[in-house]
């Protein structure tokens, strides 16, 4: 059974055609790879293809379908797409515009300052929240003229990675 799998802006068809021991025949789009793949340590794969030795490290994401993948040159987000993922992806398409209106903390940290309050009209570049981690302060700024719809954290709070801190709404929407 062929799956779809996404990497960067590319979605590829992927199919396991045969597998015996560590040997596998895998089709990615139109290319067939006859290779030797084995998990040598937890999340670490050794792949031999055409004599080349590749080392690939995976971090499993929140779901069993999502991975962060480190190759020698680069780090990628990879997602296996099945029926369920497709459904969620379709459902979310309408919401995507709102991405920029959700201010998430990209790392664990501590809220140092929130110089805005709910209902404020903020303009491009205006600081919404200051988060401190590892002795460094990062400011998160508005990327357009918006209205502060909700503030979900307060000064002194500890936040996790990807935690939603502030919701904005577009000015048009509020009018």
């Amino acid at each position: 059974m062929a799956y779809e799998i996404s990497i960067k802006n590319r979605t590829a068809k992927i199919d396991l055609l045969n597998r015996v021991g560590s040997k596998a025949l895998i089709a990615v789009d139109d290319h067939k790879y006859d290779l030797d793949i084995v998990e040598v340590e937890k999340g670490v794969y050794s792949i031999l293809y055409n004599g080349q030795s590749y080392n690939v490290e995976l971090i499993r994401g929140e779901s069993s379908k999502k991975y962060v993948v480190n190759t020698f040159a680069k780090t990628f987000n990879v997602e296996v797409i099945d029926a369920e993922s497709k459904y969620i992806s379709n459902r979310n398409q309408g919401l995507e515009v709102e991405g920029a209106n959700h201010i998430l903390s990209p790392m664990p940290g501590k809220i140092v300052k929130i110089p805005v309050k709910v209902g404020d009209l903020v303009t491009t570049g205006q600081t919404l929240v200051v988060v401190e981690a590892m002795k460094m302060q990062s400011e998160f700024k508005a990327t357009g003229d918006k209205i502060v719809q909700a503030i979900l954290v307060k000064e002194g709070d500890t936040v996790d990675s990807h935690q939603l801190m502030i919701k904005l709404e577009n000015v048009e929407a509020a009018e």
Partner: protein, 502 residues
């Protein structure tokens, strides 16, 4: 003689200090904040005591608690490491009052070198060249104009109590002078509670070169040559090396003598560093003194063949220096890369998190000073540096090749790091040729922030590994269907799983 050492620090430096203590047969005492119960220095030490909550000022900066632990554990000396209390004159004084040996200089030396105007005055009096500028606190704006007329533009306004770029202003034209002066004073007052500022000539293509010194309690002072630290990002050192590719033997000798004179001027005791700023024309000026062990001390250790922490303890024991100046030599070349948990592709945003997997570079000529381990969660409260990688080579070329090899071997997943960024520096012609100054990262911005391409094949390998992992995890979770597996048993299933039916 010292028998038990409390290390008032955390991270790689705490472990590095404990290693030398262990080699000397000394008992080690760790202190840790509540965020650090699982930290490696707690595991490494002979004894360990909690000193308070995660924020530094409630734990690693809490003098009373640290002194109390030292007394309770009967430690007879405290090593402050770098950062935290290492340059706190009050802490040095307090240790002395409590009869605990502070492994470092006394309060007088720390205070004199801590205030930049006093330090400048002391250096001028000792014949150590300082950057041309005011020698006293500037309050008179007319005087400021006079000084600038005398030394010429551009100039730098700096806060006397300063550090970390706060209260600093670059002035390129005369009409910026007065507004910049006022802003600098106001910033200095806000940041340090002291509005004293001074003016220095701005050196256009500065090189940052520092000298390691050692001074015993009997007035003997030696230097252990220089470290070149010009690869900096936002005034933070990124890569250090020794010998410096810039300076000559004659200049090395001369600057070394000045460094020794600087240490003698404050009756220094212990290990310290004299930082100089050097122009392209090899004019050099005293910048500041760090009255503690530096992050970059390993490059000196490797090339000179001295264990600096052991020398610190030797000095703290009141013994004379182990070496005479004429016995010391630089042997080969060493480079250090600092590796941070941060995302160089996203403005170096700090990236605390849990280490999933780590492969440490090893082998000939590689030293790794770190503290994280698999499963360790790097706390968000402290410095993002996770390790220092030091390579040695017979020549600078070999040291660079070895650093490239070490960075290639170093694999860490779970947090983003600056490894790829450092690899790109190792490939940059200006660095390879040893022709760089503190503007290096700025000057090479495009090259340093361009990620290597990963071709379609490399991308496909990433896809394939994720896909195989996904299928195998799926097969583990889903038991065989009854209809299909009827009559077979688990052993069969295990055997067949290698040939997956989809």
């Amino acid at each position: 003689m010292i028998k038990k050492v409390l290390v008032a620090n955390r991270g790689e430096i705490a472990i590095r200090i404990m290693r030398s203590c262990r080699e000397l047969g000394l008992v080690t005492v760790a202190v840790f904040s509540e965020a650090d119960r699982k930290a490696m220095h707690v595991r490494y030490a002979d004894e360990a005591y909690c000193i308070g909550p995660a924020p530094s000022r409630e734990s690693y900066l809490n003098i009373d608690t640290i002194i109390a632990v030292a007394k309770q554990s009967k430690a007879d000396a405290i090593h402050p490491g770098y950062g935290f209390l290492s340059e706190n004159a009050g802490f040095s004084e307090r240790c002395k009052a409590e009869g605990i040996k502070f492994i470092g200089p006394d309060a007088y030396a720390i205070r004199t070198m801590g205030d930049k105007i006093t330090a400048r005055q002391t250096m001028i009096a000792s014949g150590v060249p300082v950057v041309p500028g005011t020698t006293e606190k500037l309050s008179d704006e007319v005087k400021a104009v006079e000084v600038v007329n005398q030394i010429g533009l551009p100039v730098m306004i700096k806060a006397s109590a300063g550090g970390g770029g706060k209260g600093m202003r670059l002035v390129k034209s005369m009409d910026e002078l007065i507004p910049s002066l006022r802003m600098a004073k106001s910033e200095a007052m806000n940041a340090f509670g002291d509005d004293a500022v001074y003016i220095e000539k701005y050196i256009e293509s500065p090189h940052h070169i520092e000298f390691q010194i050692l001074a015993d309690q009997h007035g003997n002072v030696i230097h252990l040559f220089e470290r070149e630290c010009s690869i900096q990002r936002r005034h933070q050192k990124v890569i250090e090396e020794t010998p410096s590719p810039l300076i000559t033997d004659a200049l090395r000798t001369e600057m070394g003598e000045k460094a020794v004179a600087a240490a003698k001027a404050v009756n220094y005791e212990g290990a310290g560093t004299i930082e100089f700023i050097v122009s392209d024309q090899l004019e050099y000026y005293f910048l500041e003194m760090n009255t503690r062990l530096q992050v970059e001390h390993p490059v000196t250790e490797r090339v000179v063949g001295v264990d600096l922490v052991k020398e610190q303890i030797n000095i703290a024991n009141g013994l004379p220096l182990t070496y005479r100046q004429e016995e010391l030599r630089q042997n080969g070349h060493a480079i250090q890369c600092r590796i941070y948990a941060e995302d160089p592709d996203n403005n170096f945003m700090p990236n605390p998190g849990t280490i999933k997997h780590i492969t440490v570079p090893l082998g000939l000529g590689v030293r790794y000073d770190g503290y994280v381990y698999e499963g360790y969660e790097i706390p968000m409260h402290y410095d993002p540096m996770i390790c220092k990688l030091i390579t040695w080579g017979k020549t600078r070329t070999e040291a660079i090749a070895r650093m490239r090899r070490a960075l290639y071997e170093y694999k860490i997943t779970g947090v983003k790091t600056s490894i790829k960024f450092l690899e790109r520096i190792m490939d940059t012609p200006e660095f390879v040729e040893g022709k760089y100054n503190t503007h290096f990262i700025e000057d090479n911005h495009d090259r340093l922030f361009t990620t290597k391409p990963c071709g379609i094949e490399c991308e496909d390998m990433a896809l394939i590994a994720a896909f195989i992992d996904y299928l195998d995890k799926l097969a583990e979770v889903q038991p065989p269907k009854y209809t299909e597996e009827l009559g077979s048993n688990w052993k069969d299933f295990g055997r067949k799983r290698n040939v997956l039916r989809l």
